[in-house]
Subunit: 400 residues, 2 copies
């Protein structure tokens, strides 16, 4: 493939491009471009949704361009001063750096980590004074920022918007100024913020970056954007067997999108699989992502485990948790056992699961919330707790 | 008069008070209160409109409270970064200090300058970082700031509002936090900003200041708030004769307000004057303000000059301007003569005034724009230029 052909394939991946001619010209110019990509340090676990952009960045990296990750640690450190947003907790400096490391360990599965430039936007934003902020905010009007979909909706529905929230898009836009970015990549939900960068650069006397807006990967629920907080994700660091199970659950109607946006497989081949045998197509997808993020050697085991679970048995290779014998002296309340096993995060969640008939003990549903466990319940020294269809823990009694 | 009676008279002067009970309690507590008053350093010329608040501050000063003038030099130095507002030009640090001095020279005509505390809000605002700004802006919502009348109207009518403009009320409010103000005084047009201070103090863990909103003095046009930019003002530093003339032009219908808001005269007496002889009432007012801001000894001359001008004659005591003889060698163009005399600021204004028949030479209208002046036009070595009814300059030829 020629360089020009590669560039055309890259450009085709944008849902929207501002502006396509200029982007094509820049990519063909032979100049080493500064490609900006914003990373959120408060959620360091990458999932397949993130890989849509990362894989594009990899191709741009292969063409010789400089990929700059901007970690929004400044906003992350500030958090939400109004205390309204639960999705934006304040992080400490150390947390942002630790999350940054976790993030890049995962990014290294896709891009060449030696050729990545990592920046934290506190490097320039923390230095700005009130005067600088007034100058920055003077570049933008209230009406235009209220055009952003989420602001427009909240304003219309009288849901409070803190004035500080108007500052975030401007910070993000200013990052482009600080980097003198040539191109920025982001998802469709970031379109507004990406364009703010274009305009601020012009206001600060720079050439505007070109913006490539990429499609969002729909999550396993078939509705919302893939996101960790919605639980509809496949993480690229998740164990192979979890990946396999989740891949089998991708709604049929969007499986093609998954192939298209997250793999390099031949799409005409993919169409054939989906048409002829949708189960096979799911398996092919599961195998491909395990190969990409773990290695071919992990496929077999994941597949076998999946078969066992799918047929309702208790798989052999499940996690073991030790509890000391003396803790059972007076009998252990059922919710306490569940919490200690780690299969639920809290006793209230334990109670909820028991009452909803979601827990089995040794393969048998057990919904007596007042049950207390004794040593005698542990035949052969262990019992198996099952939550839902696919989560298992083997509890082992540990004597002194 | 007892202290309690004085306090009641003070409280009665507020158009609105937030909150009256708390203010009364504070004033009666015997505690030395911090009374905040915001001053705009971009317009250092004080007029009677300003004295409504200054006279109240004087009474509070006499009760032993600390009057703190906050000069908004921080915003004045920044100006309007969007370049949209012509009324808010950026000032240099030196200009804000120079304006501050001019301002306080005038304030000293009303308050005891030794007991005034002067602060510049750059002292605290210039030190704030982007993080501090985010925290400050997080205390306020977009919807609430859009409740401010001028913002609401502009937003409704699609007149752009820069995001930085949302920051100004918050800065002004933060000034109250920085000073830990007990009471703030301001005009009705400042109500919104005064209340922001109340709320921010609460957010920053302070007791809220009480706010006294004072009536605005209507200008000489009888419509708009008195303001220098509208030209409908009587400056407290203007010459006595100008004060006299302007006082005579106050619309009859608002003369009582002028007495009430800007003098200490007995209002039942004033009512009688206005009812019996409105011209006399105007004269009494003119005399009173000359007495207040210049001294009783300036009344007579101002009154006589007013009579001369009112009857159309050329007053005796007018300003003289010298022009050198040699400048008339080739004849001096009419607009050049006017500009040199200083009676108009520019040649284009000179031409406009001549064409509109607004200039007299030696008491005779002269509207030939192409006329050139020769030495022979100067009988007895001078001529008198008159602009409109009341402005005169005597031009004297100076030989070598």
């Amino acid at each position: 493939m020629t360089k020009e052909e590669k560039i055309e394939l890259i450009i085709r991946r944008g849902v929207q491009i501002f502006n396509e001619d200029s982007l094509r010209e820049k990519l063909n110019s032979g100049k080493k471009l500064i490609i900006k990509f914003g990373a959120d340090p408060s959620r360091p676990d990458l999932h397949l949704g993130h890989t849509v952009a990362l894989r594009l960045l990899k191709d741009l990296q292969d063409l010789g361009h400089e990929i700059v990750f901007v970690i929004g640690d400044f906003t992350a450190m500030i958090g939400d001063p109004s205390g309204r947003s639960k999705t934006r907790p304040a992080l400490t400096f150390d947390e942002t750096r630790k999350n940054g490391e976790t993030y890049f360990k995962q990014v290294a599965k896709i891009l060449d980590p030696k050729k990545i430039r990592i920046t934290y936007n506190s490097e320039w934003l923390a230095k700005m004074t009130f005067e600088d902020v007034v100058k920055l905010t003077g570049k933008y009007t209230v009406a235009r920022i209220l055009e952003r979909d989420d602001f427009a909706n909240r304003f219309k529905n009288n849901v409070p918007i803190g004035i500080h929230e108007f500052l975030y898009p401007l910070m993000q836009g200013y990052d482009s100024v600080a980097l003198n970015a040539d191109v920025e990549i982001g998802g469709t939900d970031q379109t507004f913020n990406l364009l703010v960068g274009r305009e601020l650069q012009k206001d600060y006397g720079q050439e505007s970056q070109d913006v490539m807006v990429l499609p969002l990967l729909v999550g396993l629920d078939g509705k919302e954007k893939m996101s960790k907080s919605l639980g509809n994700y496949i993480g690229i660091d998740e164990p192979a067997n979890v990946m396999y199970e989740k891949a089998m659950k991708i709604p049929d109607s969007i499986l093609f999108e998954y192939f298209k946006l997250t793999t390099d497989l031949d799409l005409s081949e993919v169409e054939k699989w989906i048409k002829e045998d949708i189960i096979l197509a799911h398996k092919k997808y599961a195998e491909e992502i395990i190969k990409m993020y773990h290695g071919e050697e992990f496929i077999k085991e994941a597949e076998e485990r999946y078969k066992t679970v799918a047929t309702g048995g208790i798989p052999e290779n499940i996690e073991e948790v030790c509890i000391e014998e003396k803790e059972f002296l007076d009998g252990m309340p059922y919710p306490d056992l569940l919490t200690k096993s780690g299969i639920v995060p809290s006793k209230s969640e334990a109670r909820r699961m028991i009452e909803q008939n979601g827990i089995s003990i040794n393969g048998k549903k057990e919904n007596d919330i007042n049950k207390k466990f004794e040593i005698s319940d542990f035949k052969d020294g262990f019992l198996v707790i099952q939550k839902g269809k696919k989560q298992f823990k083997r509890i082992i009694i540990k004597g002194n």
